[in-house]
Symmetry: C2
Subunit: 381 residues, 2 copies
């Protein structure tokens, strides 16, 4: 099968490309290096240096014998994107080519407009390219559990059947996102759902929780193939921040009360989920939604796990509660369904002590590159 990875330079895009190519698929990647430019401009470059895509593609070919052609360009540039579709004829695609950071989207006007236009125009371009070149091409879009917010009722996978005054209607599950980034990830889903109804495109939307992990089977041989590891306040995740703080000997910074509950998953599970989705495509006209995570933690629980894992490595880890820079519920009901991918056969990994310690050791190898100034929150909302 031929799969196109849009946003193939990113934290998930590059490991996905290697993984699928090792499974014997033909894979091509597209990226405009937005994330690298933003990290450069905002002084929050990744902990571990990352060769450019052509270089990584050559390294991967040397390790695996698999070729991954690289197209440097912008998914928002429609003539460029259509040409890639016409040349490569993908059977399926994974759409990671979005601005991925909540704090970035809340920095100011420029970043807000970039987030809206990039995330919606890229998605609309993908839909039109599929419609113009091959309506059967299965679109797998990465979403986020953050689109749901923290409603006071159970979160279902994509849809909600509402009974109201004796009548029934199934709606797309209503979204109450907590950042502009998360809102655009609800809106890209609305675009995809709309064109499923109008043009019968095939779509799977994977609403992920925060993903953790640095090394995959494909990258283990050469750290220049590792996934991008951001630990800063803009592009870093909460777990990456805690791992770096633990190694740097500064307190883990829990925002607010720390009762914020989210669903997490291992990078290896993301790869497996994407492959399961591609191997079992949505039907024509189907907008299929999976909630993609394997276990839930509060932020405080996550901090405790990192502290305990660090203790065995001789790290003296402290925890500090900071005023929350975000407007979000710090204690809330959270009961999201996530059975769809398990029923397709997902074998989950869990965030155990060994996994945390393996990540801490990678961070320790690069501790001289840690810049503690880029960890504390600069953006509030």
């Amino acid at each position: 099968m031929r799969f196109l990875i849009l946003g193939g330079d990113g934290y998930l895009g590059w490991p996905t490309a290697m993984y699928l190519s090792r499974q014997g698929h033909e894979v091509a990647v597209v990226d405009n290096y937005f994330r690298r430019r933003a990290c450069l401009e905002l002084n929050c470059e990744p902990l571990i240096p990352v060769p450019n895509l052509q270089h990584r593609s050559q390294l991967w070919e040397a390790v695996s014998g698999c070729r991954i052609p690289v197209h440097v360009g912008d998914v928002c540039d429609y003539p460029f994107l259509r040409q890639v579709f016409q040349d490569f004829h993908p059977d399926g695609l994974v759409h990671y080519a979005e601005q991925p950071a909540a704090p970035y989207s809340m920095m100011g006007h420029r970043e807000a407009i970039l987030t809206i236009t990039n995330n919606l125009v890229s998605t609309a371009n993908v839909i039109h390219a599929v419609n113009e070149t091959n309506l059967d091409c299965h679109i797998v879009k990465l979403g986020t559990m953050g689109v749901y917010g923290t409603p006071n009722i159970d979160i279902e996978e994509g849809y909600l059947e509402v009974e109201y005054r004796g009548r029934k209607q199934t709606f797309l599950y209503p979204k109450t996102p907590g950042s502009l980034y998360h809102l655009t990830k609800a809106q890209d889903g609305d675009l995809l759902y709309f064109y499923c109804r109008m043009w019968s495109i095939r779509v799977t939307d994977l609403n992920q929780g925060p993903v953790y992990g640095i090394v995959t089977e494909e990258s283990a041989a050469d750290e220049r193939l590792y996934s991008i590891f951001n630990y800063d306040d803009i592009f870093g995740t909460v777990l990456n921040r805690f791992l770096v703080q633990a190694v740097a000997g500064v307190p883990l910074t829990v925002y607010g009360k720390g009762g914020q509950t989210r669903g997490y998953l291992n990078l290896k599970d993301t790869l497996a989920c994407v492959e399961l989705a591609l191997q079992n495509p949505a039907a024509p006209g189907e907008y299929r939604v999976f909630n993609q995570f394997v276990e839930t933690f509060t932020v405080t629980e996550l901090a405790h796990r990192v502290r305990d894992a660090g203790r065995d490595l001789g790290l003296d880890v402290k925890i500090q509660n900071l005023p929350n820079p975000r407007l979000e519920a710090e204690e809330h009901y959270y009961q999201p369904a996530h059975t769809g991918l398990l029923s397709l056969g997902l074998q989950p990994h869990y965030l155990d002590r060994e996994t945390l310690q393996a990540m801490l050791k990678v961070v320790q190898q690069h501790r001289e590159r840690i810049d503690p100034d880029m960890i504390l929150p600069r953006v509030t909302w």
Copy 2:
């Protein structure tokens, strides 16, 4: 009070500007002439010639003694928009500056991207300009009843309280729009609702049904002040199409079975609703939604009313059912609430025979300008 009308050249924008200025408010208008350019390019110019905004502003000053300053520019151009806010200091604004046509949004890739970026960037720019210059400025945005689609349960005004497995949550009412245009009008509302929660802006969203009417009290003295009257397949409404077909002696074209039910209102009621909203602003942080229509008809009922009104004027009106160019339910449940504006004091006008005949007479005065070739649908979805 000082009110800024964004999209002040449009079918609703210009009558709103005149109406509010006659009520004694200071009014300024902003427009980039998108609608005029598109009508020129697509060969679907309005039935009655429309002087440019500066000219109309001069005519209005001559008639009424009221000055309406004109700013020609694009709401998507943020430095321009911010400057207008800084110079004019509005207490409230009416945001009409969106691409307003469902068929336009479904024409092709270029028009789809323009609809998405114009409608969402204009709205985001308005929000940021309010946040930067005066957080108290009340945003009145014109929405459309079309955002709801035709669900099988009652349509409430903006919100839906869902009871699910013994727990309760109030959501923004879930939307299932039937065109990309309508989708962007749900998405601009999602943006406004989000920033109400984050920044405590004040917003009223007026989800209108199709509006009819050509002449208002303000324009009655001079037809060069009349509202833009489009009757074509792209920017025209179903009622305008029927009126022109009745006068031109060609059959009224009902799409499909004609059971599509919508809520309609008179242009004069739109003006009253906008004024009521401005006079009773939403609270800080409140995203207030009104469903703005006064009566519902099926398309077939509308055709019968035009036929009957035309008969008294000596017009022999036939009705013809065309294959539906749109993907939409042609028979459906439709029970939308619309009590909010009535409770603020709206005195509705109804689509009676006299109103239809007055419109038919205006069309008759311009019958030599009717181009029947621009009436039949060119865009399908």
